[in-house]
């Protein structure tokens, strides 16, 4: 009966559906699969975090015991402080570096393509490679410090990698090297899409290049800025491979980050319950960044719709 109706009224719609079927399959099947994975594993992790699991997952209920143990551990406290410092420093500095590079590249210079490729290239390198290379460069015994010493400046000191108080900054340096090219690419696209008429109008009104940038061009970039911040922040929160290759949480446990703590608890200490609790805490930190972003996008879309 419904078939008949469909045939009677919806023949064009059906052929349209059939024609677009590959597209639907391409989009929806992977999307549903990954959503199912993401959600089911998140729920599973949350459940494990309330069980007394150690070597393997077990049933049982221990309430908040795993959370209390993680929050009270020195490893987590150090990791959390480091995350605050690393997150803020890395996001701000990569933002500034990326913007600066983008503005400089925007000056219609020769060889822009080559330079742009060079700045973007680190993004194509695995974090493990970045971490390993920088761990050599920053090692005082074989890297930059030794080079400068060999050149004659024997008073030069650059031992951040093995200095507990400064080691976290080596991760900031390596992370910026890796990903400021990404910020640059987004900013450059933003700069290029600024309406030339507005820029020309500003110039006619007598604004110099500095004022044109600060008053006219940069304000149009703030949606891009927020995108860059969110993308970089979620990288900062889930940073793992870079730190593991560069300092492995050391010297001592001075450069612990939450993802390292999760891995350590789950796979090295065989404390699945505590590891899951730490993972859920990480998820909460991530949500604290992503939810406001989602809300902001929602509000903006509604404003755009009303305008």
């Amino acid at each position: 009966m419904s078939n008949a109706a469909a045939v009677a009224t919806g023949r064009p719609a059906t052929t349209e559906m059939v024609r677009r079927l590959p597209e639907y399959l391409m989009i929806w099947v992977p999307l549903l699969l990954s959503a199912a994975h993401l959600i089911s594993f998140s729920i599973w992790t949350i459940w494990i975090s309330f069980t007394p699991s150690t070597l393997v997952p077990v049933t049982g209920w221990v309430g908040l015991r795993n959370y209390n143990a993680v929050l009270a551990s020195r490893n987590w406290q150090i990791a959390f402080d480091n995350l605050l410092l690393f997150g803020i420093a890395f996001v701000l500095l990569s933002l500034v570096t990326g913007l600066l590079l983008a503005i400089l590249l925007d000056q219609r210079i020769r060889g822009e393509n080559v330079l742009r490729t060079i700045f973007l290239y680190p993004l194509a390198v695995s974090f493990v490679v970045t971490g390993t290379v920088w761990s050599w460069l920053l090692n005082p015994g074989i890297g930059i410090e030794k080079l400068v010493h060999d050149l004659g400046w024997t008073n030069f000191h650059f031992d951040w990698l093995v200095n507990r108080d400064m080691a976290i900054w080596t991760i900031v340096i390596a992370a910026i090297w890796q990903s400021s090219g990404f910020a640059m690419a987004l900013f450059l696209a933003g700069l290029r899409s600024v309406d030339t008429d507005i820029v020309r109008a500003a110039q006619i009104d007598g604004a110099g290049p500095f004022r044109t940038y600060t008053r006219v061009i940069l304000p149009t970039l703030w949606p891009i800025t927020i995108t860059v911040v969110v993308v970089q922040l979620q990288f900062a929160i889930s940073a793992f491979d870079l730190v593991r290759a560069l300092t492995n949480g050391g010297p001592g446990i001075a450069t612990q980050l939450p993802a390292l703590v999760v891995y350590d608890l789950m796979f090295q200490r065989s404390q699945l319950g505590r590891g899951a609790a730490a993972a859920v805490l990480m998820l909460l930190i991530l949500l604290a960044v992503l939810l406001p972003y989602a809300a902001w996008r929602y509000v903006r879309r509604r404003q755009a719709a009303h305008a």
Partner: protein, 428 residues
């Protein structure tokens, strides 16, 4: 129908196989097969297990070894996944208290009969035997032994300091280090900066000061012993060691700086016996360095035991069961242990193997003599840094304290004692 019969016959065969010593005849019904996982894929470790596999095949078995390269934890992740999937390997690498912990999550094979048939228990150090029979029954077999506190001395650094004898006590050690420092050895203590390295510095210090306190504090976690003055003294000794080390090592493994050690730029290395194999592989000659037991204040050698082992997981397949029995017999065989240790640089688990012959080094002979001596004086203890004394969670929590202490020279020994007791409490 014929298939069922065969299978029934196989099961009967495997039951007979368990009833040793009728095993050898019953074996005829089925070709022994062994699925094994370990982290030993390359270098001398890989060569040794490959040689063991050849022996297994010579005895008519099918050898199916899947190495998981990398850290032990990565091997454990594979083991965990296989156990959860209900398909454990017939045999896997596992060591120390992890044997007891893991034996609770999946059924293991009772090896009592085959161990008794080989008369193996008499020739294994008692502390070591205990780790491999957690419920009173043998379920795992140790394969080779290392001491984690051997003292490697660079000949050239000794020459610089005009010394020729290895130090016996920590006081001797400290005096020699000062002498080296004064005579142009840049770093009297050669070191790596990994977690295990830092852990070894502490365990060597404490065991050398008092093996008895080591046993009660580190192995038995006795609260009083954890706050004993010897613990503070051990932290103080460890601080001295860190002052003589190269601060630029960062998180590099000790092996990175072995050339400087041979050149006499650094003097003394406290490391497991495996360093001998690593030095040899790196092309250095055996007369470039001396191996001695680690410092011990009462003058008698202290042996920090580290032993690799195989645990056997229960399987229903008759060929795997036959393979497990064959493997168990091979692992206990003195000839096989000799072959294995000569490849890796360890010493055999059996205390009745003669090391005077060719193929053994002076370092291995010294190590074996130290073990015998230490066992006689009740000074053979289990290494914490190499996961022999405690389960992984506790070990890691304690090593956190040692590694922070090694890298942060503002922490006072008494503060470290408090942190250690807190770390033990926090992860229990």
């Amino acid at each position: 129908m014929p298939i069922t019969t065969t299978r029934r016959r196989l099961l009967a065969g495997s039951a007979a196989a368990l009833a040793l010593p009728a095993f050898a005849r019953a074996q005829g019904a089925v070709k022994p097969r062994l699925t094994a996982i370990s982290q030993w894929s390359a270098g001398s470790d890989g060569a040794a297990i490959t040689a063991l596999g050849k022996k297994f095949e010579e005895k008519g078995g099918v050898w199916q070894h899947s190495p998981v390269p990398g850290f032990t934890t990565e091997m454990m992740n594979k083991l965990r996944a296989q156990i959860i999937a209900g398909d454990p390997p017939a045999c896997s690498q596992l060591k120390g208290p992890e044997i007891a912990a893991w034996s609770k999550i999946a059924p293991t094979v009772d090896l009592d009969a085959v161990v008794a048939a080989a008369g193996y228990e008499k020739v294994v150090a008692p502390d070591l035997a205990k780790l491999h029979k957690p419920g009173g029954k043998w379920i795992a077999l140790p394969l080779q032994i290392y001491s984690t506190n051997m003292l490697f001395l660079s000949k050239r650094a000794l020459d610089k300091a005009k010394a020729d004898k290895p130090p016996v006590t920590w006081a001797d050690f400290n005096a020699l280090a000062e002498k080296m420092k004064a005579n142009g050895v840049t770093f009297p203590v050669a070191n790596g900066g990994t977690r295990a390295d830092d852990g070894q510095k502490f365990e060597a210090s404490l065991a050398g000061i008092s093996p008895a306190v080591y046993r009660s504090a580190i192995m038995n976690l006795d609260k009083k012993a954890l706050e004993a003055p010897e613990i503070k003294a051990a932290f103080a000794q460890m601080r001295k060691l860190t002052e003589w080390m190269d601060p630029n090592v960062g998180a590099q493994p000790y092996a990175t700086n072995l050339k400087r050690f041979i050149d006499g730029d650094s003097g003394m290395l406290i490391m497991g016996g495996w360093a001998q194999g690593v030095l040899k592989n790196a092309g250095f000659k055996l007369d470039d360095f001396i191996i001695a037991p680690g410092p011990s204040d009462n003058g008698k050698p202290v042996f920090l035991l580290n032993a690799d082992a195989f645990i056997f997981w229960q399987r229903k397949e008759a060929d795997l069961q036959a393979g497990q029995m064959l493997m168990a017999q091979l692992v206990m065989d003195p000839a096989i242990q000799t072959m294995y240790s000569q490849i890796t640089g360890s010493i055999p688990v059996r205390t009745d193997v003669d090391l005077s012959g060719e193929g053994w080094s002076d370092g291995q002979r010294t190590t074996a003599a130290a073990l015998k001596n230490a066992m006689g004086n009740n000074q053979a203890v289990l290494s914490l840094a190499h996961n022999m004394a405690q389960e992984n969670g506790l070990t890691a929590a304690m090593i956190d304290v040692f590694t922070e202490y090694a890298k942060n020279k503002t922490i006072k020994p008494e503060e470290a004692v408090t942190r250690l007791t807190e770390a033990v409490e926090g992860s229990r």
